[in-house]
């Protein structure tokens, strides 16, 4: 896994170069006028950055960190920036991908990862519950989060009733 993350990080170098070029194509204070052009791509990039960071550290990448990976600013005042809603959309895509990872981890014989994913996703869900969203695309995507949560819970449940997670947690607490 670490090696793949390293490789992914290298790809972000190309992204950074292209962002540099994109920044120059329009006046800096009209970001939102053209925002829709790159919105989709930016959200995908956020997701990819978040995924790499999760695989490396099992934490949620911060907005500032994503901005750095992509070579853009975190705040609007400083120029071409990452909009908070795009960041959140990318993070929600990460949740879906982690649900998929949980399933495939079990298939691959890794019974501890799903548990850790579950903890992470639950915290993420609690975070999102704090937000007052409008009925826009972000809200719709957020509505999908509960299905990801459910899927992961099912995986964890399947493991626990078969006692498989006990083998796993034995390793987490410290080898006996």
């Amino acid at each position: 896994v670490p090696k793949k993350c390293q490789k992914a990080r290298e790809h972000f170098g190309t992204v950074r170069t292209q962002m540099e070029s994109l920044k120059t194509k329009f006046p800096a204070d009209q970001y939102y006028r053209f925002h829709e052009h790159w919105r989709f791509v930016l959200q995908r990039l956020v997701f990819l950055a978040a995924f790499v960071v999760y695989l490396e550290s099992e934490t949620l990448v911060t907005r500032e960190a994503v901005a750095e990976i992509l070579g853009i600013e975190a705040d609007r005042e400083r120029g071409f920036h990452l909009d908070i809603e795009d960041y959140l959309s990318g993070v929600l895509t990460l949740a879906s991908e982690l649900a998929r990872l949980a399933v495939n981890s079990v298939t691959a014989g890794d019974y501890s990862r799903p548990l850790r994913i579950s903890t992470f996703i639950n915290e993420l869900d609690s975070g999102f519950r704090l937000l007052n969203l409008k009925n826009d695309s972000l809200r719709k995507r957020y509505d999908g989060l509960k299905y990801d949560v459910k899927k992961i819970e099912e995986v964890v449940y399947d493991l626990s009733i078969r006692g498989l997670n006990k083998e796993a947690t034995g390793g987490v607490g410290g080898e006996k």
């Binding site: 204070d29 009209q30 970001y31 939102y32 006028r33 925002h35 934490t59 949620l60 911060t62 907005r63 609007r76 908070i84 809603e85 959140l88 579950s118 903890t119 639950n122 915290e123 993420l124 609690s126 975070g127 999102f128 704090l130 937000l131 007052n132 969203l133 409008k134 509505d143 509960k146 299905y147 459910k150 819970e153 099912e154 449940y157």
Partner: protein, 284 residues
């Protein structure tokens, strides 16, 4: 709501275990702290958007009322009064626009453009209508924007706004109507001018229709010059503009052909049909 899916799988899940998991989320973890700040940021942004929507609605209503007022203008003595009153109304609208400008300080206007665009279009319509009545010409977008430069009026405002060391001109706000909003406002103006044409005939004024025909034709030419290169909304308005122009041209035709035959006070009846002018019996 989000509780629905839990109920379906109820028999499969040990309820107690799930509750325990959720309570294990630390409310002051870095992630939760981030999300609390996200909540604040999103709420602030949504609140601002709503304030702007409300201002835009007020602007629209007052502009529409100004237009109705201006339709009552004639060359009769009270015309001057009506113009004065319209100026008062438009000043009130401009005060609202000033509030919009204040809300938008430090913001990217395009992020909130959809909130304020309808109001601004309506204002352009009202302001250009008043300008036409006064000068028989089309107000330019520069002229409109010149009237939308605001300074702090009284000491109260000055102390309320924090003077930023970055401001070169402290306490000046301005709003620039975008070319697109200007065009859309002018397109709507043509509809009002068409109504003006029909009603002026009813008042016995048979010169205005011909002036309007010329004027509208020039506007129409301008729009066809833009053609399809503008945004979709502009093209949509072009269709209505064409219809308005046709109505005015038909009115002029009727006046020319039959005007001398029909007593002035009957002219209003001739123009009373809303669509194509009906062929009426001669010698009313």
């Amino acid at each position: 709501g989000s509780g629905g899916f839990r109920k379906r799988k109820h028999d499969n899940f040990p309820h107690g275990q799930k509750k325990e998991e959720k309570e294990n989320v630390n409310p002051s973890s870095p992630l939760m702290t981030s999300f609390k700040s996200f909540q604040l940021e999103l709420d602030t942004r949504h609140d601002k958007y709503e304030r702007l929507v409300k201002l835009s609605r007020d602007i629209t209503i007052e502009s529409k009322r100004t237009i109705f007022l201006l339709h009552r203008f004639t060359s009769a003595p009270n015309g001057e009064e009506i113009l004065d009153e319209s100026e008062v109304k438009l000043d009130a609208v401009r005060r609202k626009i000033k509030q919009v400008a204040q809300e938008l300080i430090g913001e990217d206007m395009y992020q909130f453009h959809r909130a304020i665009s309808p109001g601004l279009q309506e204002y352009v319509e009202a302001a250009s209508f008043q300008y036409f009545i006064k000068t028989r010409s089309l107000i330019s977008v520069e002229e409109i924007n010149k009237q939308l430069i605001f300074t702090a009026e009284d000491r109260e405002e000055t102390t309320n706004t924090s003077s930023n060391s970055q401001d070169k001109q402290p306490h000046t706000w301005s709003l620039k109507v975008t070319p697109v909003d200007y065009l859309l406002g002018v397109a709507d103006l043509t509809g009002e001018l068409m109504r003006l044409c029909i009603s002026s005939v009813g008042n016995g004024d048979i010169d205005t229709p011909f002036e309007l025909s010329q004027f509208l034709r020039q506007i129409y030419d301008g729009f066809t010059f833009i053609g399809n290169t503008g945004p979709y909304e502009v093209s949509k308005k072009l269709y209505t503009l064409k219809q308005s122009l046709a109505k005015v041209e038909n009115a002029c035709y009727t006046l020319k052909v039959r005007g001398s035959e029909i007593p002035k006070h009957m002219l209003a009846d001739v123009f009373s049909s809303k669509t194509e002018l009906i062929d009426q019996e001669e010698g009313l």
